[in-house]
Symmetry: C2
Subunit: 148 residues, 2 copies
């Protein structure tokens, strides 16, 4: 972010712009009312084969604050895509679960996202992506440690 350190600045700058371009492109093809944040949550349950997750676990998984997760989950519940029930084992906690509508919505999103993903494939080589992955993983993990 500073002229003192153009390399660090540029890397984070590129990351910011790429993130914006991709999330906008993905959002554009999602069904009316769906967002990438909401899709991410639906997808999370299926990918990791979780039946229930607490809002706090989800917030941690997506690196967002608990108020943010409260807000997004409320919208998903309102749309009938998840259920939110009290945790029987912890009076403070809640348990979030996918509904069948949530599963269907996740499937539909996947189908629609295949378009932009295919587009990305036409311009990005697997080779570039394969090189990027371990580097990004390293950066993400180290930045994550820094937060503590």
């Amino acid at each position: 972010m500073t002229p003192n350190d153009p390399l660090t600045f540029e890397v984070f700058n590129e990351i910011g712009i790429i993130q914006q371009l991709t999330s906008t492109a993905f959002a554009a093809v999602l069904p009316k009312g769906m967002t990438t944040a909401q899709f991410g949550i639906l997808n999370h349950f299926v990918r990791l084969e979780h039946d229930t997750r607490s809002p706090a676990q989800l917030a941690s998984a997506f690196q967002v604050t608990r108020p943010t997760m409260t807000s997004t989950l409320a919208r998903l519940e309102k749309s009938g895509l998840v259920t939110i029930k009290p945790d029987p084992d912890d009076g403070r906690g809640k348990l979030v679960a996918l509904t069948s509508a949530g599963r269907k919505m996740r499937e539909e999103c996947l189908q629609r996202l295949s378009g932009p993903i295919a587009d990305a494939h036409t311009v990005l080589s697997q080779e570039t992506l394969a090189k990027l992955r371990p580097l990004l993983k390293e950066v993400r993990e180290r930045l994550d440690k820094l937060r503590d």
Copy 2:
């Protein structure tokens, strides 16, 4: 974003999380009321040695929509960090310029940001960043072309 293509999904996923971690870390050290979006605009004028820029040029430089730029510029103007005047050569246009307060604010932000940047240095090797930069630049440029 899809299980059909774990590599593409993972790369964009890592990018999203890194972006979130860094922008939150940067925002935390900025002066009260300042944001990374606002700092980015102040910094843009100084880095590229521009006296004036139109809102449309700024929106394009930061890859955000014009309504977004309208909103952020209005806040900067309210804080006295930029001026916004009609473009004498184009009745539709406006010209944005830094004020001296804007310059000072940019300097202060730079100083405060040196902390997190230094922290990043302690955990990220120059080597990793040097490898990342050209790869990210390539991805960003190709995605950018895809938008047209």
